[in-house]
């Protein structure tokens, strides 16, 4: 009886786990099935590297969107990574546990704010500020990067905190007992020991930034062109899909799915990089 129960539970759990995986698999399959034939028939090089996006004229080059996504994401990393890691280091090493217990949930709450709200803040506050202080249309790479940089903070901070906290206390004590100051111990021992987890945090944050859609549509301006400066208006891969899916038909629609395939591949690469970084750390201990 007990044996049967044990087996039954295992089967149910396996079923649940499998359904989660199969949802992911189905989404991937669906996008690939819709998008891949188009990439092949249109020509992958022409699709990826041409900068002509004129759906009415049958021209589908997504190079400007790829460039835009890369710039906005890199900009977001420039804003989010140093800020997030510094914040995590400060919270774990320099703040009493009790204070940390209040601040960490607050930061994680940031992740729960709908992206529309971030976009709204960008449109109402950040874009006008950029327009008046730096020139250009305001809705730009810079605005997108700053908004995304703030949006990915919770991801970077909470994963970095976890990895810094998992550094054995004996490392810190060992270093302090050798006459290192608190700060020397932090940057010479604690942070290097947590390095792979911090890198994983940054990569996962990057995945979030590249996949974010709503906030970017609202603040980046959505012009299909290769940006010359950070103040230019751009359209990212995600924005392109969301903006045009509503009315696209036929080949145009397939081209948007193909854009999705490109995004999927990029995110899969980033995620496996993060996974490798985490596994490397697990192997070292």
């Amino acid at each position: 009886m007990k044996f049967l129960g044990e087996k039954g539970v295992r089967r149910v759990l396996a079923g649940i786990a499998f359904s989660a995986i199969s949802a992911l698999l189905l989404i991937a399959l669906f996008i690939i099935k819709e998008g891949l034939p188009f990439i092949i028939s249109y020509g992958p090089i022409k699709f990826l590297l041409s900068s002509d996006w004129q759906p009415q004229a049958g021209k589908f080059g997504i190079w400007p969107m790829i460039v835009a996504s890369v710039w906005v994401t890199l900009g977001a990393m420039l804003v989010g990574a140093p800020l997030g890691v510094a914040c995590a280091v400060f919270l774990t090493e320099f703040v009493p546990r009790r204070v940390m217990g209040v601040i960490k949930p607050t930061i994680e709450l940031l992740a729960g704010i709908p992206s529309v709200v971030y976009g709204f803040m960008g449109v109402m506050v950040l874009a006008p500020l950029i327009r008046s202080q730096l020139g250009g249309p305001g809705l730009s790479v810079l605005a997108g990067a700053v908004i995304l940089g703030v949006m990915i903070l919770p991801t970077i901070i909470s994963i970095s905190i976890d990895s810094i906290q998992s550094v054995p206390n004996s490392y810190r004590e060992g270093s302090l007992a050798l006459g290192a100051t608190h700060w020397q111990t932090t940057y010479m021992v604690t942070v290097p020991a947590a390095k792979s987890g911090i890198i994983a945090a940054i990569i996962l944050g990057m995945g979030r930034a590249i996949g974010e859609t709503m906030a970017v549509i609202m603040v980046a301006g959505n012009a299909v062109k290769i940006p010359i400066s950070a103040l230019d208006s751009v359209r990212t891969l995600t924005a392109n899909i969301a903006l045009e899916m509503g009315y696209a038909t036929g080949q145009h629609r397939q081209a948007l799915f193909a854009t999705g395939v490109v995004l999927l591949v990029i995110i899969m690469i980033l995620n496996s990089l993060a996974g490798m970084s985490i596994r490397k750390k697990a192997g070292k201990r």
């Binding site: 546990r97 004590e173 302090l176 007992a177 050798l178 006459g179 100051t181 021992v189 070292k284």
Partner: protein
């Protein structure tokens, strides 16, 4: 009886963790350039006392200390006393070896470099002499740049000892340094200690009473946060004054 001058002196030392009292009004004078063995059952305050001597307990929230500890007559808990400098003068070896996740060479020069030694030749010298004093030079001299984590437990512990010696401290604290080691590594550490006491004041907390009998010049017996008995090792082990001491060393409890 106490031929050497006093290096460390604790007066009326009490330690608290929250509402709990860990050390009960301890008084002890520790002579220079000798090995003091501290024995006692688990929870007797040996480690708490040891970690108070280099103020490592400061890191624990809710920990507080009363009374005084002086090193060469200076109060180490005085607000103006430099804790970082103290930890350079009072090195500590932990029960579990904790090499930093760096190479053997970098582990040794970690401390000296922090205190500003930058000259490569001097660092090389320091690495060799401290590894030699810790009886590990021959085992690692050909792989100084390989990760310290790859050494065996006994080697790691001797590396950690070498790392402390590289700081050229005055006092070395050892917190059950051999509890996780095989007999051969233990013997090497003990041999190193008996040579090192020519230059350093050594305080050895150990769960192994025989180890204290073998290497310590003076031995202190701790029980439930109090110092029960303290005297030359030979006397404490042969004619203990307190019944609790004789019970403990003959293995009747603890």
């Amino acid at each position: 009886m106490m031929s050497n001058p006093i290096k460390i002196s604790a007066k009326d030392l009490k330690a608290f963790y929250g509402p709990e009292q860990l050390l009960m009004s301890l008084n002890i004078d520790i002579p220079d350039r000798q090995i003091l063995g501290i024995i006692g059952p688990a929870g007797s305050g040996k480690t708490t006392f040891l970690r108070s001597l280099n103020r490592l307990n400061d890191l624990i929230p809710d920990f507080r200390i009363e009374g005084s500890i002086t090193l060469d007559g200076q109060d180490i808990y005085h607000p103006k006393f430099d804790v970082v400098a103290l930890r350079k003068r009072v090195g500590m070896l932990f029960a579990l070896p904790v090499p930093l996740p760096k190479s053997i060479y970098e582990n040794i020069i970690y401390g000296p470099r922090l205190s500003g030694v930058g000259d490569r030749k001097k660092l090389d010298q320091l690495v060799e002499s401290s590894l030699r004093s810790a009886f590990i030079w021959d085992e690692v001299k050909n792989r100084l740049n390989s990760p310290a984590m790859r050494l065996s437990g006994g080697q790691q512990q001797r590396l950690c000892l070498a790392r402390i010696l590289a700081l050229e401290p005055e006092v070395i604290l050892l917190d059950e340094p051999c509890s996780g080691l095989d007999p051969i590594s233990t013997a090497k550490i003990e041999e190193a200690l008996t040579i090192l006491k020519e230059k350093y004041t050594i305080i050895l907390v150990t769960n192994n009473t025989k180890q204290a009998a073998r290497v310590a010049d003076r031995t202190a017996f701790f029980l439930m946060g109090s110092l029960v008995e303290y005297g030359p090792t030979g006397e404490l082990f042969t004619v203990p004054q307190d019944k609790r001491t004789s019970d403990y060393i003959t293995g009747r409890f603890g």
